[in-house]
């Protein structure tokens, strides 16, 4: 019984200790990583970033989607004109 409680307390101390330890290390590692990256590979301040963000989804869909869209837009136009 007492052993169980002791084990529980041990788990708590070790657990919270480790969680903090790990995340504190991660804070430093992350900060260091960011500083390194932004120092050695500074982001080129072009307009591209915006398009880069959009790339993942748009690139995957692009070819056929654009075809379908332009067809749809045409259709839409034509309907309106008729």
């Amino acid at each position: 019984m007492n052993g169980l409680l002791e084990d529980g307390l041990g788990l708590m101390v070790l657990g919270m200790g480790f969680v903090f330890l790990f995340l504190v290390i991660l804070i430093f590692a992350t900060g260091y990583m960011s500083r390194l990256l932004n120092h050695f590979f500074p982001e080129v301040p072009v307009v591209t970033p915006k398009s880069v963000v959009a790339v993942p989804s748009s690139e995957a869909i692009d070819p056929q989607l654009v075809a379908v869209i332009s067809a749809a837009v045409h259709q839409h136009r034509n309907k309106k004109n008729t």
């Binding site: 007492n2 804070i27 880069v52 790339v55 995957a60």
Partner: protein, 390 residues
């Protein structure tokens, strides 16, 4: 033929249904109701609820083991949930695949812009370990029959992260898996009810009104390197957390690297959806009357609620502490998002913040501790698996 008719009658549910099964079917229906009508994490609780209904139909054999003859030929095939549970949950495959998909859906940008928020994600894990002590006390005092492994699995409810809870429970306390998963997802759905009173009690209106400086822009490169850094730190310091965090970071890397969008897209959609359906049915299979209808379940539900509340409180308190030492002001409300429950807890922080100051948008600031909480509870899970298992 009269005998066959009698057989058929003996096969019916009416004849065979035990009271415990009846109650568990009602529990399953309640989960379905909460999922559909109340919007309680329906993606999980609907399949779990249906899984609970199906596994408790007497004679339907959803959990029957297959029977083989002496030379290994199949005589009677097993039930659907038997294969799902033993193939995907007991092995840990399903929670890990879901964690990969969640990683592919997670944006670490806000956290990278303000890494200090990782401390909030650490503090909020205190709910986990406080709950372990609670469960241990109930066990040690003889009120309930909890071992250390059970206590650890119950505590993880406070991690507010479904796949982590299922992964840990399937390894440390498979019998409690059903109750633990239900508690975890239910309380995640109840975050908008559970957290606000605690947030208001522990903060002044001035604190809740604190505006935070706008987050810096995080470069694509940082987002790509970050999951690799996490994986390597896990490898160095806590290999027992590597299955969870390794798959999580793998999913995140697929998302951010920009060269495997078709894999990332599948991980976030078709694959995670398929696994979610089966995970739900498999978790539901553990909602049997023997495992669920007892005092322990009551303990699990109570302790889970306590875990959430303590995690919320310690997250806020840590934020208040940080605020004292920080150059840039920190709104303590975002500490509550450290429990995980992505993105619900961040939204709650935002909402409570708006009540105090209607021009104060905390959502992006709260996303930092929110995703930090996911890492935090996976680390806690790793410690538990290493401490209890080793």
């Amino acid at each position: 033929m009269e005998k066959k008719l009698l057989n058929l009658f003996h096969d019916t549910g009416i004849y065979q249904l035990e009271f415990g099964q009846f109650v568990m079917i009602c529990v399953g229906l309640l989960l379905v109701y909460l999922a559909i009508k109340k919007g309680f994490e329906p993606l999980l609780l609907l399949p779990i609820g249906i899984g609970a209904v199906l596994v408790n139909i007497p004679g339907a054999g959803f959990m029957d083991a297959p029977v083989y003859d002496s030379v290994g030929h199949l005589v009677t095939p097993g039930g659907l949930q038997y294969y799902i549970y033993h193939g995907g949950i007991e092995t840990g495959l399903f929670p890990l695949i879901i964690f990969m998909g969640v990683g592919a859906m997670t944006d670490f940008g806000p956290m990278l812009a303000n890494p200090k928020t990782l401390l909030l994600g650490a503090a909020a894990q205190f709910g986990i370990f406080a709950t372990v002590i609670g469960a241990v006390l109930l066990g040690a005092s003889g009120i309930m029959d909890f071992t250390l492994a059970d206590a650890a699995a119950i505590g993880i409810i406070g991690g507010a992260d479904g796949p982590t809870a299922i992964f840990v429970a399937s390894r440390l306390a498979p019998d409690l898996l059903g109750a633990i998963a239900v508690a975890a997802y239910s309380y995640m759905a109840l975050v908008p009810l559970i957290q606000p009173p605690i947030m208001r009690a522990l903060t002044t209106k001035e604190e809740r009104s604190i505006k935070m400086v706008q987050l810096r822009v995080v470069s694509k490169k940082e987002k790509i390197v970050f999951p690799v850094v996490v994986t390597l730190l896990v490898a160095m310091f806590l290999p027992s957390a590597a299955p969870l965090l390794g798959m999580f970071c793998f999913g995140n890397l697929m998302r951010e690297c920009g060269v495997v969008d078709r894999l990332s897209d599948t991980a976030q959609n078709a694959l995670i959806n398929i696994v979610t359906v089966f995970l739900g049915l498999g978790v539901g299979s553990k909602l049997s009357s023997e495992a669920f209808l007892n005092l322990e379940t009551l303990g699990i539900l109570s302790l889970g609620l306590i875990a959430f509340s303590i995690g919320t409180a310690t997250g806020i308190l840590m934020a208040k502490l940080l605020n004292r030492f920080s150059v840039d002001a920190i709104n303590p409300l975002i500490g509550a998002a450290g429990v995980s429950a992505v993105p619900m807890a961040a939204r709650v922080a935002n909402k409570v913040g708006l009540e105090a100051n209607k021009h104060n948008f905390l959502l992006m600031h709260a996303m930092g501790p929110n995703v930090a909480g996911v890492i935090g509870s996976a680390v806690a899970a790793g410690v538990m698996l290493s401490y209890v298992g080793g």
